[in-house]
Amino acid sequence: MQTATGITGLDNILGGGLPKGSAVIVEGAPGTGKTTLGMQFLYNGITEQNEAGIFITFEEFPDQIYHDMKSFGWDLRALERKNQLRVIGISPKILLEEMQKSNGLFEQMVNEINCERLVIDSISLLRTGDSEKTIREVLYTLRNILRKFKLTSLLIQERSDLDGNSVPFEHYIFDGLIRLSLKEHLELFRQRTLEVLKMRGTCIMEGEHIYRITENGIYVLLASKTAADIQESTSDFQLKTGIPSLDAILGGGLDKGTIYMLDTNSKANYRHIVASILAQRINSGDRILSLLSSIQSIEELASLLEKHKADVGKGIEENRMYFIEHYKRSIPEKWQDAVYHVHTLDNKSYNLFLKNEIYPKMNSDLNKHKNWFIYYDLNAIINERGTEYVLRHFATETAAARSLGMSVLVLCNFKEVGIQVASFLERSCNGVLKTWVDGSYQYLQITKASNGEISKPYLVENINDCPYIRLL
């Protein structure tokens, strides 16, 4: 069970909020807003969840905190008068003594306001003077007391030595760790980032997320969220990829009527990704146009699609599948009518062929409300027609496809085409799925999407059953 912090962005990172009853360290350098985050957690708990809270400060005067927090519009004294909050100034030694006493001051105050949330500012002051063993015992006792009272707690800590080799034992003892950092940004500015490094019992969004201290308190902007393409993200129609984990990352599937690029390096295996997407479209009754590559003949593609439970022969029989063949390869007699041989056409003639034969055919079907899905192996076009051809025609072709409401999957190796061409291609597409091999592992990441979401890199795992891959 989780309890929302009410802090914009942080609850998304935590998958809903802090686990109820957990004790979490908030670590950061001076000026990162640790106290603000702690108080915002309590203030939101009172005003949004009706959960009373206690803020314990060792060094700071409570009246300084009342004053500072007023700048966010939080009237802490008013909450104290309603017995929903206590800002307690106390020394670390007395606090510990009182916490351990049966019906001590701490217990009395918790019961007095029916406290559910607690912030201690800061546990670094519990470290002074004593040996490591004693401090460990103190912190262990503290954790156990907080658990006994079932208090959801934030324990503020001055930033530990991040460059050191040893991990502070607090990080093992407590349930979670949130790190606030201050980094140089554009030379003159400072960038504040928040990262959840540990949280027992909940899935977290990994990575450093930028936050700002606004007039309403801390506001976290998720790292995986860029400006969304409103026009595209409003589409309700999504095409399943056949890979459940990929659909989940894409928020349901590929957006219908948009252009996706699958950027793959030479070592990565993309065949099952493409096959799974194509198989889904074939089995959904779409019209398919596929551009065959030098390393995959129509028979090889049919064999792969069969593994993904799609019947190419049936699709051809029903006049739903067409292929553009750039190579002089033999085609089974029964599939001849579905294949356009273009190896004899120069670039100009090829372009005319698309305009005069392919587009009108598609247009005629689209007028009958039939869906078209195009698989475009751009590597083959670059090899056969050259980069110049791609630069001249790709944007026009994708724009035409988009305007006709067709969905397109383009295969390309950005690394091979160079930065400038890759950048141009990326601009022409609505989404980019990037897959690559690093060491002994293959990864996949959504690096561009119409809804603005950028995923973390997922590991691509081979599995024995269809769709033969899973993202982890």
């Binding site: 005067f61 307690i88 100034g89 007395i94 009182e98 001051l105």
Partner: protein
Amino acid sequence: MTETFPLQMECTMLFQSNPYMIETPEGISVRLGRKVEDILPVIDQLCNQGILQRLGDELTPLYRYQEPVIITNLDIQGEAERA
């Protein structure tokens, strides 16, 4: 009494501004930047006046503020009848 009055005011203001502060005499002296021996008689006076409350045992006393009781709803007619 008159000699300790400024210190009494300082101490009262400290606890009034920080009503949920709990301190030892040593802690109060640090917070006010005064000597403990000067603070001790003042704390006693404030306890006798009901401004501060003494907690803990005699060896390790703790002090906290006692909020004055404010009557917000006074029943005048009832009071008059009782008189």
